[in-house]
């Protein structure tokens, strides 16, 4: 209880209240997350239950235009699935992939960065050289190459069911560098501080100093990068799925939905593509705005 009170008295909450754009972004982000998490409970239809969909309802336009049906607010696709419901289920997959990818990237990046910064020497130069090399390639390209090459090593009949792991891996392998560099930098600073020296003098083991004492002090910036990286991860996943190396149509993410709808653009069914696209934009923009705000709020220099 006291922690909650302290949070609402604190300046992070104050700067949140001061920025109307951030409040709007937070509301939208919350709506996206709730819609995704609660999809099975609140979605008007279950688009993946064959008993509930019917071809009679296929390609209906949104409810407000001519020929629309009030029970399908954003229209239906070629198989008669409700677009609003597919978007909610799709956001679930998109968010799940992005969160897992970011968490794995953080674990890898923070671990390697801490190691490089604290141990130094040859370990440091190998890890950082790897990071440098990876940074010379755009992250979307690295993710695409890993996903494209990775799926070749998966047996054909398992490709659809294992796709989610391949894609999470490919996104997290492209994300670790940023964390590693930041954490290494702050570890170098922390390492020379007195509390670390004191711990070393009284004989605390190296690994304990690293994880118990240094780690908590270098995590601040990681939070900001992680927020911004969730947006990037959502975009990367959508792009990979759009290119056909991401989520399969049996378990579609927003990117898969956009890619499938894209085939119907020319026959006039624009809503199949445009609404998932809008959902993607809203999600990414609001997470990006939250990340920007967090960066400024946690940076004492800007106050």
């Amino acid at each position: 209880m006291e922690a909650i009170n302290r949070f609402f008295d604190g300046d992070v909450w104050y700067s949140f209240k001061q920025s109307p754009i951030t409040i709007v972004a937070a509301v939208f982000a919350l709506i996206c997350i709730l819609a995704a998490v609660l999809a099975p409970l609140i979605a008007p239809h279950n688009p993946y239950d064959l008993a509930q969909i019917s071809l009679i309802n296929s390609n209906l336009p949104p409810a407000w235009s001519v020929g629309g049906n009030a029970s399908f607010l954003l229209g239906t696709d070629q198989q008669g699935r409700d677009i609003l419901s597919t978007i909610m289920y799709g956001s679930r997959v998109s968010l799940l992939v992005a969160l897992c990818a970011v968490v794995i990237a953080i674990l890898m990046g923070v671990g390697l960065g801490l190691l490089a910064g604290y141990v130094g020497g040859r370990v440091d130069s190998i890890i950082m050289r790897l990071a440098d090399i990876q940074l010379t390639f755009p992250s979307i390209l690295v993710a695409l190459l890993i996903a494209g090459v990775g799926r070749q090593f998966v047996p054909r009949d398992l490709q659809d069911s294992l796709a989610i792991y391949v894609i999470i891996l490919s996104i997290s392998l492209t994300g670790w560098v940023q964390y590693a560099r930041t954490v290494r930098g702050s570890t170098l600073v922390e390492k020379s501080k007195e509390y670390v020296q004191a711990a070393r003098v009284i004989g605390v083991p190296r690994w304990t100093i690293m994880f118990r004492h240094v780690l908590p002090n270098v995590l601040g910036p990681v939070l900001v990068i992680a927020t911004l990286n969730i947006a990037t991860a959502i975009l990367t996943e959508a792009t990979l799925s759009f290119l056909g190396v991401g989520m399969p149509s049996t378990q579609p993410s927003l990117g898969t939905l956009i890619s499938e709808g894209n085939n119907y653009l020319f026959s006039g069914e624009w809503w199949i593509t445009v609404f998932p696209g809008l959902a993607l934009i809203v999600m990414v923009v609001s997470v990006n705005l939250l990340g920007d705000w967090l960066r400024d709020a946690l940076n004492p220099k800007l106050r």
Binding site: L144, G244, V245, V285
Partner: protein, 327 residues
């Protein structure tokens, strides 16, 4: 300087070897090449013979050396899907990608610098604020959605511009160009806009912030005090000094343009190398994938090398620091 170049070359060679190794393992560990070529009902003798022919009975390092040797000569075998040499396929697709990348790069550079300078000089103006807000949204928009929306507006609804393929191309030797026909140029418009937007906003924001920084420096104040015209101060002094970082970023962004060309080409079904790669991934066309991997790595390694070297050549400050440090 020499040590710097050698270190860079060494690092580049290492990256190329690593990529070559990945594409080599693609060849050797994905599926059985003997099965792929002979089918299921070949006799064991036939298998052994082909195995020996392909050099698959040799130790690993011999095979790898041979692979690297072939890769240097540009030989990656036959495409499994099209039954044609991979080198020919890539040669056919290369002009499409390069023309697209060139147009997108030129657009991004020109409009990026113009808008950057404009927003820096008229910092409080309405148009500047508008451009900045738009660019913020542009950063959050994925390339493929920009492409789809452009197609929806200009190709489906207004029907002004074509939305797929290159239109009519003219063959100049082995190079096929879309610059010489109206339909070719028309088909270039939407893809190059799609591809350029990301880089354009980046260059614009960079030029703006660099320009604002330079405009605050003492030598600009001095130039104004000397009574130089605004024009001379802005373009003769300020802009010139902002261009060094812009050049570096543009060089590196060339890589991003090539990477995002994969996405743009898929959206517009542009018959370039990126589209070829995506198709090869979907059809498990290993030779094409392997060749593309090696090629794209080569492009990136070269771009980075050139940008690093140019940086040294263009910015005299770096050279002076080096030579004074050497004394």
């Amino acid at each position: 300087m020499l040590a710097f170049i050698i270190r860079r070359l060494f690092q580049a060679a290492l990256v190329m070897l690593a990529v070559a190794f990945v594409s080599f393992s693609l060849f050797n560990f994905v599926g059985d090449p003997v099965n792929m070529m002979l089918g299921q009902d070949a006799t064991p003798e036939q298998r052994e013979e082909l195995r020996a022919d392909l050099g698959l009975d040799k130790p690993f390092y011999v095979q790898f050396t041979r692979f690297v040797g072939n890769a240097v000569k540009g030989e990656f075998g036959l495409s499994l899907r099209q039954i044609r040499p991979v080198a020919t396929l890539i040669k056919e697709r290369l002009p499409a990608t390069l023309e697209l990348a060139f147009c997108a790069g030129a657009l991004a550079l020109f409009f990026g610098i113009v808008m950057g300078v404009f927003t820096a000089l008229r910092r409080r103006g309405f148009i500047s604020q508008f451009l900045l807000t738009i660019s913020l949204i542009g950063v959050s928009l994925p390339t493929f959605l920009i492409g789809i929306l452009l197609i929806l507006v200009f190709a489906v609804t207004l029907q002004w511009l074509p939305s797929y393929s290159r239109g009519d191309v003219v063959q100049l030797g082995w190079w096929s160009t879309g610059f010489l026909t109206t339909s070719g140029i028309k088909s270039l418009i939407l893809p190059s806009i799609t591809l350029s937007l990301g880089t354009m906003t980046l260059i614009m924001r960079l030029v703006r912030s660099e320009m604002l920084e330079v405009l605050r420096t003492d030598y600009i104040k001095f130039a104004r005090a000397r009574g130089l015209t605004n024009r001379a101060v802005h373009f003769g002094h300020a802009l010139k000094n902002t261009l060094v970082p812009v050049m570096t970023i543009t060089g590196l962004q060339l890589g991003a343009i090539i990477a995002f060309a994969i996405v743009t080409e898929t959206v517009f079904q542009w018959p370039g190398m990126g589209f070829l790669f995506i198709q090869s991934v979907q059809f498990a066309d290993i030779p094409v994938m392997a060749a593309y991997l090696v090629l794209i790595a080569l492009v990136f390694v070269s771009i980075n090398l050139i940008v690093d070297l140019l940086y040294y050549l263009v910015d005299p400050r770096l050279r002076i620091e080096r030579s004074t440090a050497g004394h």
